[in-house]
Amino acid sequence: MSDLLTLAFTSFLVQNIILNQFLGICSFLGVSNKRSSALGMGLAVFFVITLSGIVTWTIYYEILYPDLTFMRTIVFILVVAAMVQILEMAIKKFSPTLYNSLGVYLPLITTNCAVLGVALLNIQKGFTFSEMVVFSAFTSFGYTAVIFTFSYIREQMVKAPIPEGFKGIPSGLVAASIMSLIFKGFVGLI
């Protein structure tokens, strides 16, 4: 049990998926302008990563292993694309307002490095089922937390007198670098 807790803590804070592993940066920079879209994107990514992590892990160990492992990347990305499609249809049906606010970002979750990255990492690290669930859930929760916090920062940064060339993405990257430094401090807590 304490192993799982350490794993949860590590994957959430110490090896944070955005600030340490650099997965999911494109969407992180693109969507974090406004709090509402950041939260929506963060939650959508949370569901997609956790669910597709579970599904890909199961498919790998039940169907692909040991003869068909060479089809791993191809099968995984197709599963991710299918999950995003299903999620899009579900959101459209249950909450049209959320669907409208997320707009074009939803299909983009397919090309979010974080989703395929977590699926592959689950296999690479040789997790058992419970470890895999904890890892996927807490890693993606790290994504949600960071992108939501960052949207607050970016909303405030718009009011600051930043030189023209640095407005938007460059200043966002500098702010992310400071956040990354802060998160590095969590290493010593384990």
């Binding site: 999911g24 920079l29 090309t111 490095c113 460059p170 500098v174 990354s180």
Partner: protein
């Protein structure tokens, strides 16, 4: 079917476009994950850049070849499968014959599949253009990506460790270097500053261009107004003479 002639770029234009005007790293800000992840040293960056170049060439060509056979509704899944196949083959080639690059790229190698540049170019360019054009476009984007990655890696490695491993070129000792530049935080900072500088230069250029255009327009308008005034003065004179 519209009768508009589609604008065709020459091969050289395609390549240069990907290199500078629409550089994936600094202008389009695409493919950020490997950009931050593998630029700790120049060798890794070149390895990643050349891998993406290889994949882009192949996928752009292949997708351009099949663009007329694939039904439009299922083209995205088919493109994804083609890209995944090419990346898987590249993974095995590197693992078998270039194991140092394979170890250096780590998890980012299979993640080339979801690199926005590749699917983006396939969807935006290769699905509509000839094989040759798509190949050169892929080459341009791949070279631009390599250029962006190498610049970032060069800066981080030189200022962060004092030497560049690939060239064996040493500027200062490792323990007086800004060590945090090879850490994740340094990656964000260097990329942000680089993009900021390039943006400033681009905006400057655009502003200057605009100023020249405005000046030209102003002169042209003045000339037109002067001409009009002269014409009216002439008319007035003629009217006075006729009276």
């Amino acid at each position: 079917m519209s009768n508009q002639k589609k604008k065709r770029y020459t091969p050289k234009q395609n390549v240069l476009r990907g290199l500078f005007k629409e550089n994936p790293t600094f202008v389009l800000v695409l493919g950020m994950c490997p950009t931050l992840g593998v630029t700790t040293s120049l060798e890794n960056a070149l390895g990643m850049g050349l891998s993406v170049l290889f994949v882009l060439l192949l996928t752009n060509s292949l997708i351009s070849m099949i663009r007329n056979i694939v039904p439009a509704e299922i083209r995205i899944p088919v493109y994804i499968v083609v890209i995944a196949l090419v990346v898987t083959l590249l993974e095995w080639i590197l693992q078998a014959y270039f194991i140092t690059i394979y170890d250096a790229l780590g998890i980012y190698l299979p993640l080339i599949v979801v690199n926005c540049i590749i699917l983006g170019r396939a969807e935006a360019f290769a699905s509509d253009n000839t094989i040759i054009d798509s190949m050169f476009d892929g080459m341009g984007m791949g070279l631009g990506f390599t250029l962006g990655l190498s610049t970032l890696a060069f800066t981080r490695e030189l200022l962060g460790t004092g030497q560049v491993g690939l060239f064996g070129f040493k500027l200062f000792e490792a323990n007086v270097a800004a060590g945090f530049l090879v850490q994740p935080a340094g990656a964000f900072l260097t990329l942000g500053v680089l993009i900021g500088i390039i943006n400033t230069v681009r905006l400057d250029k655009a502003a200057k261009k605009k100023a020249i255009m405005d000046e030209k327009i102003r002169i042209a308008l003045e000339k037109k107004a002067a001409k009009k005034a002269a014409l009216e003065a002439q008319k007035l004179q003629e009217a006075m003479i006729n009276e």
